[in-house]
Symmetry: C2
DNA sequence: CCTACCGATCGGTAGG
DNA sequence: CCTACCGATCGGTAGG
């Protein structure tokens, strides 16, 4: 219950059908988004351990205690950030999964991952290098989404193997290889120095062989060919 | 100048040829090795941030302050551990660099890196995920060795490209790809579940194509062949 | 190699 | 959303 300027008690609007407030208000959610965004920036710049809640609060011109009105703990803050990033990545992958040509799909996934990681190495340093700090429950939720992410790559590698574009490897190891190769980018990529598209192109060439220029109708696999050309 | 129990001034030992103590004693160095090994264990198990000097000292039945007799700071401890690991890795790579066959050499490097990373994922989590904590001077020394490490892979990729075993990619990007693929192992490899040798074999197949079984004389490149078989 | 202790940081809470 | 503050941790130092 609140008090208006005259000091009289005010009651909530009496409108019969008033939809119940079943959740946080819009303003609350929006403010929390601000906080999450700022926390992401702080963590990106100083790392998770070194980036304190005081830093986050100060950057928003708040007191640290006020953050607890929006978030239960520091690690929950991290969880929200991770979850949003993962959801974003998943939906992008999903948008690419319609590609039916195995080579095109795998190439698109590689380009996606390289572009994503190169676009924000700072954030991914936090993401990949501070995971154990999450509480078990959050850990589980993140892990589930990560697993879905991984499965996109397993499917793409499987498709490429079946099409004879890749040698007959274990698709799980293949997916780890592709993801490792692309993800590792966050450790060395420097925007000014390196070219994101060139990197992706070279990675794809490494996996699928040199891109046939101007030709679309490439018959089958290079791996099948390779074995044909063996001479005793 | 020191004073003996009688209060008289003492001079350094007069023995003419006595070899000067030009560095820490053997016992001192040995004890420091113990401390480094224990610190490595603690960091491996709890991480660098969470693994306190009290933890390290306690595990050695010492007081924390005593560690400072052997080490200047916590980050110097980390530096010593990293430097030893890197030196070890470099000498192993060096031992493999005699391989003249480009395919064999690249394969050996892949096997080396996968085996190394899979053998101690805990330590490499510390190594790769806590770097920024090192002081600038240490950072520079480590970086230099890492660069030498990187150059081994650049050379191997270059060799494979020149031999037509890999498509004509930028050797630096190629080396990052190979290292990323192999190194990423520390993030997902589990000794019981995964097979280190199978992983390496699949990675090699992914890079160089399926291993020709029982045949040694494979003519040239699969990439050259691929373009030959294109039909309009 | 030890005892004793400092100084600073930081996540989190009480209570409004 | 704020003031005030707690409790615990931790790297490091003094001085022996």
């Amino acid at each position: 219950m609140t008090t208006d300027s005259s000091g009289a008690k005010t009651t909530p609007p009496r409108k019969r059908g008033r939809p119940r407030q079943d959740g946080p208000s819009e303003a609350y959610v929006a403010r929390r988004q601000d906080i999450l965004a700022m926390a992401a920036t702080v963590f990106r710049e100083k790392g998770y351990d070194a980036g304190s809640l005081d830093d986050v609060a100060e950057a928003l011109d708040l007191r640290k205690a006020s953050l607890y009105y929006y978030v239960k703990s520091k690690s929950e803050l991290l969880y929200f950030i991770f979850d949003a990033a993962l959801s974003d990545g998943l939906s992008r992958l999903d948008a690419l999964s319609h590609l039916s040509d195995p080579a095109e799909r795998l190439s698109a996934y590689v380009e996606h991952q390289v572009a994503l990681l190169a676009s924000d190495t700072g954030m991914f340093k936090v993401f990949f290098d501070n995971r154990p700090l999450l509480s078990p429950e959050f850990e589980e939720l993140i892990r589930a989404k990560e697993h879905r992410y991984f499965e996109f790559y397993i499917a793409a590698v499987s498709g490429a193997v079946e099409a004879g574009l890749l040698p007959p490897i274990d698709p799980r190891y293949g997916a780890q290889a592709v993801l490792g190769m692309c993800t590792w980018t966050y450790k060395w990529f420097t925007p000014g120095t390196h070219d994101c598209q060139a990197v992706a192109a070279d990675f794809i060439a490494l996996l699928l062989g040199p891109k046939p220029r101007g030709l679309t109708m490439v018959p089958k696999a290079r791996h099948e060919k390779a074995s044909q050309k063996i001479r005793a």
